[in-house]
Point group: C2
Chain length 241, copies 2
DNA sequence: TAGTGGTCTAGACCACTAG
DNA sequence: TAGTGGTCTAGACCACTAG
């Protein structure tokens, strides 16, 4: 009823695409032809096509026309937060230690820093019902004069630790998700045995220029952790947020 | 140079947001005020704001104004495909068996089907260098008269198996990612020991009405598998695809 | 009531494509 | 050269917000 014309055109096209009437690779009618078909102005047609393009249904080739897109089956939306993604949420955080260390080769590689640059190492354990459920390690470049405030480190997630004054908008993140058999150290920290698998999530923070500004690894007890993801289509909103 | 006015306005705003000049929650100038500031028509200003909204920087409240968004730190883009996500890609697929079975309680729950409805069970092993790297189970509702073609099942991924005539656009998917200690059966199939962890990925396929049309579980050898995800910001494109 | 964003029109000029 | 999508203008009317 009250829905605007452009959304009706959008729905019309979605139906035609989902029913298979028009298929990936097909060129759709020209914008001017669509103006006639729907008896609307070109801006209205373009608004509809814009929405369809934003949701991945179509793409345009200037000078040629608009085409139906190949659906990307392999793309999912994943929500992850090392503090809140644990099944029974983290009630407490135990700060093991904060140290300024010389980087290992692994750290040099992951943070792309010179050998002689020092890094801040933060080690924490996440607790749920007083039981350790995750072991968390973060590396941040060390800058003289920037104090490491314990309270902040205690409860902050990685983006918050790293961002500080920078806008969180400017930070890119990368996750690597693996499984691992726990080391002896990890068995002790998490109170598990060698056959109890852990989920390992590496987080890398990058600035606007894709320079690493933080690297972290969180080891989750397998029985306390799972991730969920949905196809990007389930997320109908146009917004990335 | 050649970049259109509306993109310059977009870049201008991104800079102002990333620098912290304007912060989440702030209301920005009215569209008419922006028309004056940039000496452009309202449609051009709206185009800019549209792009910023699409990338999650701002949102609008009709009757009030446009506001800077809170960055969503926890949202990532994950690419997953049970056949291609394996580190050394799957060279061969071994079809163990295809059966029509009575659903177990777990299947009834996950596929939301009546007890007396039969389901097709497909069991496969993915091989890499002749070694089993993943064990794959799929359940699909059984419809009389729809033949199960072996060749298709051999190499198809889940969305392809399930979709058949339906458009892939219309299908929603859900993933659940866990770690697990391998059962005896799994140890035998994958040639691993109890202390070798496996990554378990459950896939659920849903139709437009969110009714389950397929359910599957893939068990990956932990040492042959990892997932990667990137923050949605790294993906600057407006398109979901 | 004045101001806001949402929708829509009817035009214009442009670079590009393809015969 | 005719047709395509991309950008942009200067208007209009609307529902909604908030004083």
């Amino acid at each position: 009823m009250g829905s605007p014309i452009y959304l009706k055109i959008v729905e019309d096209f979605k139906e035609r695409i989902n029913s298979g009437e028009i298929k990936p690779g097909d060129m759709i009618k020209s914008e001017n032809a669509l103006c006639e078909e729907y008896s609307v102005s070109r801006m209205t047609v373009r608004k509809s096509l814009n929405v369809l393009a934003g949701e991945g249904y179509i793409y345009s080739v200037p000078g040629k026309g608009n085409f139906i897109n190949e659906p990307n089956q392999d793309k999912y939306i994943l929500y992850f937060n090392e503090m809140t993604s644990i099944e029974s949420s983290v009630e407490d955080t135990q700060l093991l230690d904060v140290n300024i260390i010389k980087p290992t080769l692994e750290i040099i590689f992951n943070m792309q820093i010179p050998e002689n640059k020092r890094v801040v190492l933060i080690r924490r354990v996440f607790l749920s019902d007083d039981n350790p459920v995750a072991y968390d390690i973060k590396y941040i470049p060390y800058y003289r004069g920037i104090p490491i405030v314990e309270k902040e480190i205690h409860y902050a997630t990685f983006p918050e630790i790293v961002a500080k004054k920078k806008s969180l908008f400017a930070i890119n993140k990368e996750l690597k998700i693996k499984v691992q058999k726990p080391s002896e150290e990890l068995q002790e920290i998490l109170g598990i045995e060698i056959s109890d698998p852990v989920m390992v999530i590496e987080q890398k923070m990058l600035d606007e220029g894709n320079r690493p500004i933080g690297w972290g690894v969180t080891y989750f007890r397998g029985d306390f952790f799972h991730l969920q993801a949905v196809s990007s289509f389930a997320d109908k909103s146009n917004s990335i947020y």
